[in-house]
Subunit: 225 residues, 2 copies
Amino acid sequence: MIANGTLPHRAVVEHLVRQAVYQRLGRALPTPATGPNPLVVNVSARHCHLTQDTVETLFGKGHQLTVHKWLYQEGQFAAKETLTLIGPRSRVISNLRILGPCRNLNQVELAYTDGIALGFELPLRISGNIKGTLGCMLMGPAGFFEMPEGVIRALRHVHMSPDDASFYGVKAGEEMKLKIGGPCGLSLEKMLVRVDKSFKLEVHIDTDEGNACNLQPETPCELIS
Amino acid sequence: MIANGTLPHRAVVEHLVRQAVYQRLGRALPTPATGPNPLVVNVSARHCHLTQDTVETLFGKGHQLTVHKWLYQEGQFAAKETLTLIGPRSRVISNLRILGPCRNLNQVELAYTDGIALGFELPLRISGNIKGTLGCMLMGPAGFFEMPEGVIRALRHVHMSPDDASFYGVKAGEEMKLKIGGPCGLSLEKMLVRVDKSFKLEVHIDTDEGNACNLQPETPCELIS
């Protein structure tokens, strides 16, 4: 396994190569390439965030999440552990991926397609704001956990550093647009800006959004403020 | 069952009411409401079009498709009959709806999510242009049909009459944009314009697109040329 952070992301390499090539050619960089950081757009499949207590209820006393794949945001990972989710109408989603490290709340992030499969309307919420949302039953190899609330469709958002925010002329809490190119391109509106020193410039779109435009690694994407 | 065309579509009623209310108030109509026809946006789930021969192979000699639900385009219907599709990697989609009336070609229109479930990359094609695409096996109660080609993700398109085309200032074969509002709105690019005297103004989006923006009956939509 590759340790977290030892290899730069494809987008970072492309960003550097693009800058070098344009400089060599003595030509002006296209606007998106002049930013301090490359824009990375990743598709997030449905997943959940759990507390350490919940992990232990589901996987056994003292169990620690293990890394399946490091994600683009520093220190975040897809865990090897997956769950079975039993929805409010007793319908099931298997192999729900857990993202680590553990947080101080339990939250399940689904796409609307998953909500339809489970048979109820998902509330659209900012990650972390789960008050009054429906819950579900989670099933792991060591037990069940009845999650009283926290099943949401996460509001679209973009992670960025203060440098990126200043480059795009936006502030935390404002909204941007993500234009995705290609033969069935689209523009996602109302993308909430989240700013933190630790954030790399990244948009997570969900599987519905990714499949609506058939997002591929080479599909051009542009953030518009 | 309501016979085809006896009741106007909700959008038509809304269009008329909106025009009457604004006139009553002595206020100018918002631009989309000044068009000759209301814009209808419907989500099309995966479906297929079949020839009469194929229907007979699958459902028995002399079988005629029966109407489950009339669609917005005049004379088009979702049939009661559904099929099982067996993909090139032996994975299955059940209850694939047939749209009637029969056509002179066999074509299956899936969303990219379905393509992923079946395990292959769907080609993006204008409906009817299926040359060189992958086929599949179709299974009905009376037999199998090996479809040599025709499994596609249909290119986005908008149906309109010559009056609508002239209102929007577009010609057949040109592209428009569909802006869908709401809390997770988006704009679909590269929507092919199809013009025919018989067409009502309508965009079909697929389930991925509909779920990416959680399209509801009251979601505002606007066609932009």
